[in-house]
Amino acid sequence: MGWLFEPGWWANGTVRTALLVGFVVAVTSAVVGIFTVMRGQSFAGHALTDVATAGGAGAFLAGVAPLVGFVGGGVLGAGAMDAIGVQRVKGRDIATGVVLGAAMGLAALFLFLSARSSSASGTTQLVLFGSIFTVSPSTLPEVSWLSGAVLVTLAAVARPLLLSSLSVELAAARGVRLRSVGLIFMVVLAVAVGMSAIVIGAILSTALLIGPPASALRVARRVGRAVALAAGLGVLATWVGVLFAYDSYYWFPSHRSLPVSFFVVAAIVVEYLVASVLRRRTRPAPVAASEPEGWT
């Protein structure tokens, strides 16, 4: 096994923090992601990551704690999308797009200003791409608290959320408050992606939110199992990614290691391909995927 685990892996505090934080974020993203994919809100999920990034950049500039900026930006973005009309299927794409476009403009401004005002270089890349290896151990409790809040809230609305994801008409006939449930989910989504964006970067945030759940939904037949499988796949991809990124330091003579996000995303893509192959073998005649109408 020595070839797999390069020297210092077991004793390294940074690695241990990365593995623990990665575990928490991967599990939370997987649970939130199952509902995100089922509701067809991948775009909103990704957009909120970028909106949170704008908040994070603003926090850098204002000298506020980054976590406040990321989560605050995400929640504000969710509110704006809701106000413009993310609830209606027709206008949803545009509502998401307009908010995302405006947020990107703000991010550009904030990052430009903070790059000009401080001598610290790499703010842009840190905010955009993040690195799980730069996480300080003190963030672990904060991240755990936020994750706990996200999971508890999600458990509270799970059944109405599930029914409204299946069919808005059925849910409305059952008396589910569609608008409240939809808004609660958007806020939960914003908190989850804002939190993961700061810890692991915007790319990985989307990758962990969509990839493992999409794979799990291909093979699992029950929601509970899909959630468990997605969490497992997410944690596996994250840990494999951390390991390879650590090892890659020793691959090149220049000792220039490759980013964690590269390996995690590669693992997620492999998982997705395997899930697709498994699905085709278990279900030889797949029904043509129909665009679900009337979803919120």
Partner: protein
């Protein structure tokens, strides 16, 4: 502001604005915002890769934008469209992050790629930008009717024998080309804003498709011209103005439309 070295900025900005306005109209019509957001990010990865191997960034931009577009097109036939787009997006971005980590690129270069640079197109690149722009518009014109038809009534279009896959792929290729040209000017993150804001506003204000395309191009031109001017005058990144103007136009159109609705119905 109108000195000789700014000439390129105005010319390339005008080409890019017209292209983004026209392509953006179909992006909004087809609900392809997510793809229009993902493809520029793929193009960014391509530019980073081009710096790594030392070739022209335009080659990297075009090839990776096309790669992203085809990736989305192929995967979305197997799975839900938004999931396919998200997966393609993160894959390209992760590749870009890997390129950046092993190559030595100055941070201003990265920032310019992400957030735009009014001098992003050099005079030697003006000719290829113009040619690719004309090609994109020509393809768009060739596919105009089927594009509108499959966007508005996909079932009817299929019944009339329109090959939806061909139209889909052709459209994504045009988005990819337009993206590759737009990224150096307004940046990978803001190309999307330019393709969504003006067309979304135009679509609210105008009912006829032809007029809406024209309105979209017009608003897009105003956005880019004002942004270039403001960026030059205030020394702030052009992307900020593009993003802000897009949102302002959209909200303005919404308010105008609401006023129209509250007028007594005929």
């Amino acid at each position: 502001m109108f000195s000789s070295f700014m000439t390129n900025a105005w010319i390339s900005g005008t080409i890019v604005a017209m292209l983004a306005g026209a392509v953006g109209f179909f992006v909004v019509l087809r609900g392809a915002s997510f793809a229009a957001h993902a493809i520029p990010n793929g193009a960014f990865a391509g530019a980073a890769g081009a710096y790594l191997v030392g070739i022209s960034p335009l080659v990297g931009l075009v090839s990776f934008a096309l790669l992203s577009a085809l990736g989305i097109g192929v995967t979305s036939r197997r799975t839900r469209n938004d999931v396919a787009t998200a997966l393609s997006l993160v894959a390209m971005l992760a590749l870009g992050a890997a390129f950046l980590s092993v190559s030595l690129i100055y941070e201003p270069t990265i920032n310019a790629l992400l957030f735009g640079e009014i001098l992003g197109v050099s005079s030697s690149q003006l000719a290829p930008v113009l040619i690719l722009g004309v090609v994109s518009v020509a393809v768009l014109g060739w596919f105009y009717r089927p594009l509108v038809f499959t966007s508005v009534a996909p079932e009817l279009a299929r019944a009339r024998g329109v090959n939806a896959t061909v139209v889909d792929v052709a459209f994504l290729v045009v988005v990819a080309l337009a993206t590759a040209l737009t990224v150096p000017v307004v940046g990978a993150l803001l190309t999307f804003s330019l393709m969504i804001g003006p067309p979304a506003a135009a679509r609210i204000l105008v009912a006829r498709p032809g007029w809406a395309v024209a309105g979209s191009v017009g608003l897009s031109l105003v956005t880019v011209w004002v942004s270039i001017g403001a960026s030059y005058a205030l020394n702030l990144p052009i992307g900020f103005f593009v993003g802000a103007l897009g949102a302002v136009f959209y909200l303005g159109a919404r308010v105008a439309a609401r006023r129209r609705v509250t007028r007594p119905a005929t």
